[in-house]
Symmetry: C3
Subunit: 397 residues, 3 copies
């Protein structure tokens, strides 16, 4: 298996020692070596699975999924990642539990973790809450382990918060690297992360923030485009600006979709809610002001409606590099004339990119597994060699 | 283990090579050799489990269950089958996911299948929809595999659709074969698939259709009895007629329960909804016509009420061969005076057949496992010999 | 691993042969040897896991969880226990199934058990129902196994019924034993199981009943305190009285929280509903009398409100032995000023005992696993030696 040798060489050239025993919250908290180690481990795990070599490092153990809103993709990605490593997923649904009834974060974190090796949390609904909540869980788990209540400290994976969507952004980036034949080919390439119209309300900002917060680290020209009023968190813009400069690329903002698409090698048109409105919604929810929430929703849909021309059309695609930019989306997309009357993308554009879109998504389970693997395994290179030597068939044909 | 040798001999005499890599939709699409191979593999898997020999062929991997309506039995049967082979079940509940929000079948099929080796679908609610939906999923998975998005093509198992209920019919048939001491003893035996009164509304037609579509292949005399207005799909009747003739048996219709029971060796009295009403309901649901649905429901219950004498009583049982026909039901049954005031079967009849009824049900997990096994394993005989030689204990006592 | 040797010596000195093949319903149905065998096996399983030795005795198999009300803790404890032994949990949620629609206990028990090695049931809502239901399931499983429908007889574990909460009481007791350095140090120690005020309604009696029904077997002075009207089941009080006498301890009742706390080594202040009210509620539910239920709820909350001074305060804690009694709770607790305005315990008391409280809870998964293990494994000592010799890593680091 020549591939694995290549991955081992890559890992040997990287310093990712701090990932051992650590969680994965925000991509920009990780060094570029750590980011590349994650891609490399993801690719290595995939290569092993494709070669029918089992990558189970757990004989038993639980992966806890704590989702605060519904999700097919992320749920299955996390379940797949856990399964790949030998963990059994146990869902901590609020509906099924007593969490809503006054339990503290600290208590719950301990109670579900006696046999948990990993916990995936998705909490992207309220500005200022999701990431904070994850860090509280992480601290509680650290204490629980140190106090001897937990036999192991579960690795926490951010499956989407109010700030970042690291498993999505990392899967997306790995897709870009594979599509362009290596990270060394990305220097100077232009990626357009642009807002797009959707008839729905309140889509999270974590995707555009995750994209500019990660894609700005590879020397690319990152353009963020949105109508006025759809600003993302200024802290993340600051991160993108700084990283772009450091990597020899750029980060620019524009209020024109066409300008962002002009000469772009990659386009990522997607709807999101205005940051300020999300802040307001968080307050309204906190106050239990249902009339206020309804009024805000109506207002936001009306606001969205002013920008129906923010659609990824064939005309816009024609403006991209060679008319052939890589179209990306975290899915599901609002497709004009298919899933809605007017949406984020023209049906003909979306259809042309179906296969690449599914490939994009296919990286996510491996990225999540890599995050857990790197936190659990002190010497991944040795472990991969051991897995190859052990050579247990994933499927005994 | 003498049994396994018998199963291997049986398999060696059958041609089932086309099952490798294929799905299981409708029993009448399978050759009689393929049907027998499924029974034989089911029995062999059971023999191995009873001998405490692990039949895990997967070290890891997912079995996705996609249920469009509730079900304890089928859910547990699928979970048991997956567990027997080493797959972990991940439920794709519509309530838990975004499927209802405009996702396409193609997209969802790919998104849940990155690590899926099998997918079980139950979609029996709407005439003309369930089976069609499964085939769309199957096509999408084939494409996803060919496009390289999926590392494996998941096997699709029809856990009940609008046309057939193959895992039920196959489990039922295996129960008959075991009860009568072999398929060679079934020639000329009479089986009565009859409608029965139930105070509930809209039970699927897939059971009677599945029964006449399968039981007509073994040289038996198949009698279908129902009141006027409770016709099943004409296409399936045509299949039964053709198959009965080919197998040296017969397929007859009658509108008298007593006539069907007369001299029967096996009786299967069970309620179902009129096909035409189900078609109408599908249209009403499509139009979101809730008043129409309520009116239809009322009308159907009134229609059912005219046939309360369609009950499997002791008097009717006395008319069967030796008064001792094998009573069958897919469960749960509407038992007169127990689960309802007036139902499908008299309590004394049901009670006498409890043990055979549970035995009947016990075949289903193995039938499902056999369907997956035959799709995954190119040489089942060699695999069984390997499992025996490997001799891993299922339970290390 | 010196520890394991100690556990084997302990087991060798105990007679627990009747646990093999048996269920675990009520602690007082088990001999004191059987109780100690359960603690010892729980500790041994924990020692093995902490030493990274896999305790999987099942290569495949299902653990069915049948919960009739919500629960995070018990759900995760059962899932953890099953995972530790190699079983996959399959939930039998009433919402997901047809159980509510007239199925009989007998039928359901068989239908979910074709591959089930263990079933955990939580059914604590209705007086006179929960434990009865479990015994019906147990009988059905025994018959199903004897009739040949089931290949194995699943072990039934009572995860909380109307009478006892054995997994909680056993985890609590093991926590006490560990905290006091051995059961030999408990003679004459005083434990106060006392009612405490809560602003919520209808908490089950199974915890106080479980505590007095178990803690009275170790020569301790067991004091049960509650306001008039909050009596527990007289049958359980009789059990406690008899056991206390036999073990050289005592069981006393008082209507003063302060009196119970006086000189106590262990305090367990917790709210519960009045037994008579629970009986009344069971009748009202049976009659579907929703107005009656609402009225009862209101009445009970008003009744609770008369006893707001039943709070575990610093003043009360100061009355305990050295002012340092071990504070216990099954969690979640109603903490004054934290989870409610006025509750069971002062925030400062609760906070000081957080680590011991989580340790208390950490015993539960192992206690559940031990109950299953002792029912499944005829010679636990030999099995532990085998697991050590096999030495499969739980987590391959």
């Amino acid at each position: 298996m020549a591939d694995i040798k290549t991955y081992l060489d890559k890992l040997n050239a990287l310093d990712f020692s701090n990932m051992y025993g650590d969680d994965f919250f925000l991509t920009w908290e990780k060094t570029i070596d750590e980011i590349h180690a994650t891609f490399t481990v993801a690719d290595a795990l995939r290569a092993l699975r494709e070669a029918n070599v089992s990558t189970r490092i757990f004989d038993s153990g639980l992966g806890v999924s704590l989702f605060r809103d519904n999700s097919t993709r992320t749920r299955f990605s996390f379940a797949s990642a856990c399964n790949l490593l030998g963990l059994t997923v146990q869902d901590l649904d609020e509906g099924k539990s007593q969490i809503a009834h006054g339990e503290t974060v600290r208590e719950t974190a301990n109670m579900v973790s006696f046999m948990a090796d990993a916990i995936g949390i998705r909490d992207d609904m309220y500005i200022g809450k999701g990431n904070t909540y994850m860090r509280e869980v992480s601290t509680a788990l650290k204490e629980g382990f140190e106090d001897g209540n937990l036999e192991q400290r579960p690795t926490l994976v951010n499956l989407q918060c109010d700030i970042d969507h690291p498993t999505q952004a990392m899967a997306d980036m790995n897709h870009i690297i594979h599509t362009f034949g290596g990270v060394e080919n990305l220097k100077g390439k232009k990626i357009a992360m642009t807002w797009a119209y959707s008839p729905s309300y309140g889509k999270p900002l974590s995707v555009p923030q995750g994209i500019i917060g990660l894609m700005s680290r590879f020397g690319m020209e990152v353009a963020l485009a949105h109508p006025e009023g759809y600003e993302v968190m200024p802290e993340v813009e600051a991160v993108a600006t700084k990283q772009a400069a450091a990597s020899g690329g750029s980060f620019v903002k524009t209020s024109s979709m066409a300008e962002a698409f002009e000469g772009a090698d990659i386009v990522y048109p997607k709807s999101w809610a205005p940051f300020k409105a999300m802040e307001k919604r968080t307050v309204l929810y906190g106050e239990g002001d249902h009339d206020g929430i309804k009024a805000l929703e109506k207002e936001l849909l009306a606001q969205n409606g002013e920008f129906k021309d923010w659609e990824c059309t064939e005309e816009l695609m024609a403006k991209t590099a060679g008319g052939k930019a890589l179209y990306m989306h975290c899915l599901p997309a609002d497709i004009t004339g298919v899933s809605c009357k007017e949406g984020e993308v023209a049906a003909s554009v979306f259809d042309r990119y179906r296969v690449p879109l599914y490939k994009e998504a296919s990286h996510k389970p491996y990225v999540i597994a890599a995050m857990i693997f790197l936190s659990k395994i002190q010497n991944p290179q040795a472990k991969f060699e051991e897995l190859l030597a052990r050579s247990v068939a994933r499927f005994s044909k």
